[in-house]
Amino acid sequence: MATPDRARTGSVTPAQAGPASGPIHVSGEVLATRSLGHYRRLTLVAPGVGERSRPGTFLALSVGEGRIGRRSFWIQRVHPEGGHGTVLDLVVEPVGPGTRWLASLAPGARIDVTGPLGRPFALPRDSARCLLVGEGHSAAALTLLAERLRDRGCTVQLVLTAPDETRLLGVLEARRSVATVTVALGSEALARAVTTAATDCEVVYAAGSVTTLRLCADAASAAGGQCQVALEQPLLCATGLCQGCPVVVRDAAGERRTVRACVEGPVFRAERLDWESLS
């Protein structure tokens, strides 16, 4: 029998043996915290999770024993940290009791971590011209992606947007790693920036509100490019168990199907989504 202890130390079922992939459930620790405007960045030690992470995957965190639901966060960055193997960064927007609790954690706090979860972004051929559009804290979903794209020799343009500057994530860091960074505050500026940039791109990757994702999908479609969106739906378990995150998609034959945002997503090809049901 697989005991929880084995699960917690990261062993996997035989079907998954081989290269590390798929999610694991581990007891993690907050290594460091930092305020980023309106947000809080947590750096977590979660043994085995970082090595498995890919751009567009996410983590589910427990917020104390009393709350059953998990809280889900994009894996913003994975980096080596002496003595801990790899550690993970994630960005918390304190909006409710659970996220406020997380944002208040101090280094050393223990926390159950499950991840990496979900289907990642599909990477394009080498040297493709890519546009990345990130809104608010959701821009965290694009950091790992930008690094991987750069490693493949892709041209990366990044458009960051937010309702105000305190909710703008990662401009300075992005300027170090991405060819062009455009900041667009407000919906009109965003629409202009995305429409302009998309004309020169083969693939558009987007993370943010449904409105922003749809804007990107339409811009990519008008420019003849592809679009992949990282959808943020309310998730309870985040692990595919509860069926609580329905997303209506169209399969290759045009049939409507209801799938789970957490397992079949969170990244979807824009043309597969039934946008009307998302609004």
Partner: protein
């Protein structure tokens, strides 16, 4: 009665283990007493629109709308995977009529690798789900009788009843007399989403209520096999049900908090007894 085919008393509750594949990413299904599937219906159901699941104080509210691929796709896609994963499979079924329940039981009872059928007679979503209303004990009993008739030997028939303290003993007596091999007490309780839509409430919030129901049923019907389901988060909760006389327990909402919860409960029980 058919032999009790379950190796240990810790099961995964219906609707709480995904298709089995998702849970198997963390833990082996073969180590558990049983894996109860989400409720399978004759036709595929797309389920309710979101939001479907929200937190409640010490619990979870769900309005899934019984999303499932229908019995045909379940047999083709999900059951073979559960078998490969080594699960002891209990298939939960829900029908819009007696005839549908009977057809589902007959079809699934003949499929290889099904150890038991769990009749979902306590859908918390109410009339909006279109599922047969088994609110009265005689209605629950008639579903059991209709399914018992065509179920092959060797496949257990379990009735999952609502943890309604006032009716639960009468309901359990009725389904036992109609031929059920055991009862599952209980289901998520009828509740409402914040916007007023019908929902089911599960989790620690309903544990004490379910415990009362289990206690009453065990006292009144000592020969009946009772599987307890409600609010089990740790081994202590499971032990309390087993000490009352439950033959097994189902871990449900706790899996949403920790996908290894059922194994944690089992390990805790095993540790106690060694």
């Amino acid at each position: 009665m058919t032999d009790w085919p379950f190796a240990n008393p810790v099961w995964v509750a219906s609707g709480c283990g995904g298709t089995g594949r998702e849970l198997a990413a963390y833990v082996g299904l073969g180590g558990l007493g049983a894996f109860v599937t989400r409720s399978v219906t004759l036709q595929a159901r797309a389920g309710a629109p979101g939001p479907r699941v929200v937190e409640a104080p010490s619990g979870v509210l769900n309005a899934i709308g019984l999303q499932n691929p229908g019995v045909e796709r379940f047999l083709a896609d999900d059951l073979p995977v559960l078998r490969v994963l080594g699960a002891t499979v209990v298939v939960s079924i829900a029908g819009v009529s007696l005839g549908e329940y009977a057809e589902l039981a007959r079809t699934l009872g003949r499929a290889d690798g099904v150890s038991a059928i769990e009749l979902n007679l306590s859908v918390p979503g109410g009339a909006g789900t279109g599922i047969l209303d088994a609110r009265e004990p005689f209605q629950a009993a008639s579903v059991v009788a209709a399914c018992r008739r065509d179920l092959p030997r060797g496949v257990l028939l379990l009735a999952k009843v609502r943890s309604d303290v006032l009716r639960v003993v009468e309901t359990c007596r009725g389904v036992a007399d109609a031929g059920a091999d055991g009862v599952v007490v209980g289901n998520a309780l009828p509740a409402a989403m914040p916007d007023g839509r019908p929902a089911g409430l599960s989790g620690p919030a309903i544990g004490p209520l379910t415990r009362r129901c289990v206690a009453e049923v065990v006292r009144a019907l000592p020969a009946l096999a009772v599987v307890a389901a409600g609010g089990i988060m740790g081994a202590g909760d499971a032990r309390a049900y087993l000490d009352l006389g439950a033959r097994a327990v189902q871990v449900g909402s706790a899996l949403f908090h920790d996908p290894t919860a059922a194994h944690r409960v089992l390990a805790g029980l095993t540790e106690e007894s060694s």
